[in-house]
């Protein structure tokens, strides 16, 4: 059982996301993370899904996804050389004189950007793989994480390999 990253190319139509997520819940597969957006081809969207399961379960998920009429292509990109990123926005307690400087320092180490500075808080934006964001969150917790928003993971194959239509 390990996390698999699935890249799913779908028609950009009403209800397609509920078809995809409904399939996961109905067949008892958990979604760890989900990110959806338009892609290079007009009329299509790309969904990146991270789910955990053994090989047989993942194979079954992929086959079932392929049966959805509005799904154009499904690829498990886990075994391939790929780039994966996630973006997080973290609102942290950082009062001037009590922790703000340290929070800024942590941000620097993680190459996080400060995107908002309030009277008592700052908002950091960090981009990286899941581990990096987890690590940052853990460090910031001692200062008080007020709110954390994560995009879910997106992934793309390195080099000239692609996940494109032609199912």
């Amino acid at each position: 059982m390990k996390p698999h990253t699935l890249s799913v190319l779908v028609e950009n139509k009403a209800g397609v996301l509920s078809r995809v997520t409904g399939l996961f819940s109905r067949r008892g597969f958990n979604i760890e993370s989900l990110a959806v957006g338009t892609c290079e081809e007009p009329g299509l969207s790309r969904i990146t899904i991270v789910c955990i399961g053994d090989d047989a379960q993942i194979e079954q998920v992929i086959k079932q996804l392929n049966k959805l009429i509005e799904v154009i292509k499904v690829s498990d990109i886990t075994e391939n050389d790929r780039v994966e990123r996630e973006l997080a926005l973290v609102k942290v307690n950082a009062e001037p004189g009590s922790g703000r400087a340290e929070v800024m320092q942590v941000a620097q180490i993680f190459r996080a950007n400060v995107v908002d500075v309030g009277a008592k808080t700052v908002i950091l934006q960090v981009i990286g793989d899941t581990d990096k964001i987890d690590a940052l969150e853990k460090l910031l917790r001692q200062y008080g994480v007020i709110e954390l928003v994560r995009t879910g993971k997106i992934g793309i194959l390195r080099g000239s390999k692609t996940v494109k239509s032609g199912k």
């Binding site: 009403a14 209800g15 509920s18 409904g22 194979e59 079954q60 086959k63 009429i69 799904v71 199912k167």
Partner: protein, 558 residues
């Protein structure tokens, strides 16, 4: 200029639809108004569930696509059990539902229900049409998707204003259907097919395990030819009954929970199992690790997701069953006789036949046997769910595909009678019997009204045991005979029928079985046979849940 309702009717006719089963209501009034002048035949059922089952029965009996129609909200919701039944058994049905006008969608308007959301997990695909301009294309796609690949139900939800709005309409050209994300595989992989042929020729104890996919792809002739050329015994699933002649020397009948002892023995001993259009359902395999434990498994199925789902497979072949079996036959350079094995199977068959006690009383199995003797090979048997269904499957000798119609996957009580009505419209020249239990028949007994109104000559043979028999059997065997809420007070079905204007007779003696069946067959309209059978009869043999299929109770001593 044409309105949406007119475009719908024209589109249905272009798909070759002649009969639809439906029930009107506010949101489908524009469609009904068009039906009024149309030559499409509309059968008014008494409950929308029956419309869905009738469309399903029509599809199973004919191989064409069944169509049902219901209004929004409660009407659409009443279709759901019927749609789920068709989905589980891969039956091509197009369900058309009314919906509140597009401007009111999502407002909890009167009789609004999110039927595309509700049916998401029980349809092959569904559509909510928001523009009249899309209607004709969607209907075409719906029929294409329902009927190709692994068949299944497709629902089309039509808001009222989509049906009333008039547009300048030109029928779509009959160009080839192109749906980008839907390209079912048809031809099997030649290398895999060659490997399968090789395995079957090398095998010493091959068995064919054939399911409903053989029937939906029309592959019976190829299956029979392959079995005969290689002398391979054939067992069928509940859904596959009829795809191989029941009186063929190589036939083993049904396998699994209530299968024959010899079918289950043969599968357990087999060294090569050819699974065709079947899906290794738990009612077939019992404990899945001990299913066909010595066999290399070849699995042919149109749906790649079925392959390896429940049981690892040695040779997977994805594609249309008929095309693949034809390719296998073309590759066969020699025949095989498997003499020793066939003889062994024949001995099992002789020593372990299906049997029941005959002490002179009217037993339910006798009714099924009498029907089997009375009907011609074209006769269609539909069943309800429970013991009646299993006895029908065990004791009726089906000789042709599409003569056995039963809810296998969902096991829907109340399916049989409305499905029989649908089947009768598909096969007007065949005798159509619903083999029922007194519990199941009461789930859609209101359809006597439909049968009476249109004088539909379907016959109902009720095996009236005054129990929810199959549940009672489990309580007897596994719950210490504690019959919790499974006894039904006797119902006089002849009088119920009479109230609807339908003829019927009660049968209490075994000598009356054959004459009563004859009377039913000669009736011009619908007919009800109320067989008062021995009450605590059990379906045997039986594989208890979770056991291996060769560990049957109620079988013969080894």
């Amino acid at each position: 200029m044409k309105n949406g309702a007119r475009i719908l009717i024209e589109s249905l006719k272009r798909e070759g639809v002649s009969t639809i089963f439906g029930y009107p209501g506010g949101s489908v009034l524009p469609i009904y108004d068009e039906l009024y002048d149309s030559d499409l035949q509309h059968i008014l059922v008494r409950h929308e569930q029956a419309a869905a089952h009738a469309a399903d029965g029509y599809a199973r009996a004919s191989g064409r696509i069944g169509v049902c129609l219901a209004t929004s909200g409660p009407g659409a919701c009443n279709l759901v059990t019927g749609i789920a039944t068709a989905y589980m058994d891969s039956v091509p049905v197009v369900a058309i539902t009314g919906q509140v006008p597009t401007g009111m969608l999502g407002n909890d308007a009167f009789q609004e229900s999110d039927i595309t959301g509700i049916t998401l997990p029980v349809t092959k695909h569904n559509y909510l049409v928001k523009r009249t301009e899309d209607l004709a294309r969607v209907i075409r796609e719906a029929f294409f998707i329902a009927g190709t690949g692994r068949p299944g139900p497709v629902l089309v939800d039509l808001p009222k204003d989509v049906n009333t709005r008039e547009i300048d309409f030109k029928p779509p050209l009959d160009e080839e259907m192109q749906i980008r994300g839907y390209r079912p595989t048809f031809k099997g992989h030649p290398k895999q097919i060659a490997r399968a042929v090789e395995l079957l020729l090398e095998a010493e104890r091959p068995v064919i395990y054939a399911g409903g996919g053989v029937i939906s792809s029309g592959a019976s002739p190829e299956l029979i030819a392959l079995a005969e050329r290689l002398s391979i015994p054939v067992t069928t699933t509940l859904m596959g009954l009829g795809c191989f002649p029941g009186d063929h020397p190589l036939n083993l009948g049904m396998l699994g929970m209530h299968g024959t002892e010899y079918a289950n023995f043969a599968v357990t001993e087999s060294d090569c199992l050819l699974a065709v259009g079947a899906r290794f359902d738990d009612r077939v395999t019992g404990k899945v690790d001990t299913f066909a434990p010595h066999a290399s498994i070849i699995h042919i199925d149109i749906d790649p997701a079925e392959i390896g789902k429940n049981k690892p497979v040695d040779v997977p072949i994805v594609g249309d069953v008929r095309s693949i079996l034809a390719d296998m036959l073309a590759m066969l350079k020699k025949d095989a006789s498997h003499e020793v094995w066939v003889e062994r199977v024949r001995t099992w068959k002789k020593k372990h036949p299906l049997r029941f006690r005959d002490d002179g009383s009217l037993r339910p199995q006798m009714v099924v046997k009498a029907l089997s003797d009375a009907l011609s090979p074209d006769g269609v048997i539909v069943s309800e769910v429970g013991q009646n269904q299993m006895w029908a499957a065990q004791y009726y000798v089906f000789k042709k595909p599409r003569t056995w119609i039963s809810s296998g996957g969902l096991g829907t009580m109340g399916y049989g009678f409305p499905a029989a009505i649908g089947a009768k419209y598909a096969c007007p020249d065949s005798q159509v019997f619903d083999i029922a239990g007194d519990g199941s028949i009461q789930m859609n007994i209101q359809e006597l009204g439909t049968a009476a109104q249109y004088k539909i000559p379907v016959r109902i043979a009720i095996l009236n045991n005054q129990y929810l028999g199959m549940v009672r059997q489990w309580q007897e065997l596994f719950y210490d005979r504690r019959y919790a809420y499974t006894e039904l007070p006797p119902v006089d079905f002849v009088r119920v029928a009479e109230a609807y204007g339908v003829d019927g007779i009660r049968v209490e003696e075994k000598e009356e079985i054959a004459p009563s069946i004859r009377a039913a067959m000669e009736a011009e309209g619908p007919f009800v046979l109320d067989f008062r059978v021995t009450r605590e009869e059990n379906v045997f043999p039986m594989v208890p849940a979770g056991a291996a299929i060769n560990e049957m109770i109620g079988g013969h001593k080894q």
